[in-house]
């Protein structure tokens, strides 16, 4: 017998609490696409104001928004410990995150210090609330490889947000002290390779075997990978203070860890028991292929160091990691989480007529999810191409916007089905 994970109908959070995160996230993805159509010069380099606004629309508005909602839902199930004061945490992290991201994007686009100031207050307080609640929950949680990954991901989020707040403060004040470059590098590294990657890894240990009916991840890998990556990130952030020979070793370590995870996941998925087509599986495969492409690009640049200084190189890595990997995996998971929650809450609320509710698969039309995957895939291809041929940026943005819109419509359709069958949200 095992311990009861908190998925009882009474303990689960009300549908609306995580749902608001999942319905807001695609709107930021849409904004990112729109921004790219409006100002295609965003892709001239990663440092243009538009590129920074675009990056944060994706990382904060889409990725962090979805991941916070997912954690809110998954912590009770996986860790056996729910977040305290769930309703308050939901309100006081969702609204500040959404408004704060808009303020930050405005700050980047208009260079107004006031916008940065508002962003700092909103994002700082929103993340603080969520961070405090998640820390309490994870401290009480039953340890597992997934909980371990979540803890490290959350620690990375803390570092990322603190550095981000400091950087925004500097930008608002117009100062650029010399340490700023190191701070920016650490902000990006902890944000992408720490928060995003470690959370995906931790969650993958649960959901890949569960949803895709694969064998579990190799225990030696799942025990050590997240901690090893986190330690390497700490080294990576300290490289200015360490002898120069350390840097390539640390980078090679990080790259190997990423490659290991991607290959292990693809291998498990190849050995899955039920070989039916599944959009989420395809999103994961696209994500893993993008990770491998990142590693490949990085390797190529090791042999052609001159390319490291080009504007296209970091942009390409960014597009591959954020768009190809992170957005893909999150997009795929949204197509499982939202329909599951809609089904679960209908099941809970309409006990007596259990046979009459749609199954999870009926919540969203599969055909439309398949179309949205195609749009997303084309958007990724165009974005990659646009780093080399900037004329394609407008098309890339347009397809990205369409993909985001269809994602939003698809998620909404499951919510409408939920309501039509008599479900209530609170």
């Amino acid at each position: 017998m095992g311990q009861p994970a908190g998925l009882s109908f009474e303990q689960a959070p009300a549908f609306s609490l995580p749902l608001r995160f999942f319905l807001t996230a695609p709107l930021f993805l849409l904004a990112a696409g729109g921004l790219l159509v409006w100002t295609p010069e965003a892709l001239a380099s990663r440092w243009t104001p538009q590129a920074l606004a675009l990056t944060h629309a994706l990382t904060l508005g889409f990725l962090a928004m979805s991941m916070l909602g997912a954690l809110m839902q998954m912590l009770p199930v996986v860790a056996g410990a729910s977040l305290p004061a769930l309703r308050l945490v939901s309100w006081f992290s969702h609204v500040p995150l959404a408004a704060g991201t808009v303020a930050l994007m405005t700050g980047f686009l208009t260079a107004r210090p006031a916008a940065f100031a508002i962003a700092i207050v909103l994002l700082g307080s929103g993340f603080a609330v969520f961070f405090a609640a998640a820390t309490l929950s994870l401290a009480r949680a039953v340890s597992s490889v997934t909980v371990g990954g979540m803890r490290l991901a959350l620690a990375s989020l803390g570092v990322t947000v603190l550095l981000g707040l400091a950087l925004a403060l500097l930008r608002a004040g117009g100062w650029t002290p010399p340490a700023v470059e190191a701070a920016m590098a650490a902000h990006v590294a902890f944000g992408l390779l720490g928060w995003v990657l470690l959370l995906v890894i931790g969650v993958a240990y649960q959901v890949v075997p569960m949803f895709q009916i694969t064998p579990p991840y190799p225990p030696r890998l799942s025990r050590w990978l997240a901690a090893a990556l986190f330690a390497l990130l700490l080294f990576h952030a300290s490289t200015p203070m360490l002898p120069g020979v350390v840097t390539p070793i640390v980078d090679a370590g990080l790259t190997s860890g990423i490659l290991l995870f991607a290959l292990a996941t693809l291998r498990l998925q190849w050995r899955r028991r039920r070989k039916l087509p599944d959009v989420t599986l395809d999103y994961w495969r696209l994500g893993m292929a993008s990770l491998i492409a990142c590693v490949f690009v990085w390797l190529v640049v090791q042999f052609r160091p001159a390319w490291a200084d080009s504007d296209a190189y970091p942009l390409l890595l960014g597009v591959l990691f954020i768009g190809g990997f992170a957005v893909s995996v999150v997009n795929g998971m949204l197509y499982k989480i939202v329909p599951f929650l809609a089904w679960f809450h209908l099941q809970a609320q309409l006990q007596a007529r259990a046979g009459s509710i749609p199954t999870m698969k009926d919540m969203i039309a599969e055909r439309l999810t398949r179309w949205q995957f195609r749009l997303h895939f084309v958007a990724c291809v165009l974005l990659i191409a646009a780093t080399r041929w900037p004329r394609l940026a407008v098309a890339a943005g347009g397809v990205l916007a369409l993909s985001a819109l269809l994602l939003w419509i698809n998620l909404l359709s499951s919510v409408r089905r939920f309501a039509r069958h008599g479900g209530h949200f609170t």
Partner: protein, 80 residues
């Protein structure tokens, strides 16, 4: 009149979530007093236990030699 077996078999091995749970919930609605569900699954269904307890059912889980699980579900006040 008793059914040939007092158990309804739900073979959910290889089904992806939440089909196993969906099947069990459907069968629960059809259970007659004294009947049990014999559920076969490739994982231990922790999320199901809390729901069963809430609805007044108890369960017994056994792992088979091949690593799959057999879960017997009955009403809490029924005789074993």
């Amino acid at each position: 009149m008793t059914a040939p077996a007092n158990e309804i078999l739900v073979d959910a091995r290889g089904l992806e979530p939440p089909e196993p749970m969906e099947k069990v919930m459907q069968v629960l609605a059809l259970l007659r007093p004294g009947q049990a569900i014999r559920m076969l699954l490739h994982r231990e269904p922790f999320p199901l236990y809390a729901i069963l307890a809430e609805r007044g059912y108890r369960h017994e889980t056994r792992m088979e030699a091949d690593g799959s699980y057999v879960i017997l579900i009955r009403q809490s006040d029924a005789n074993p």
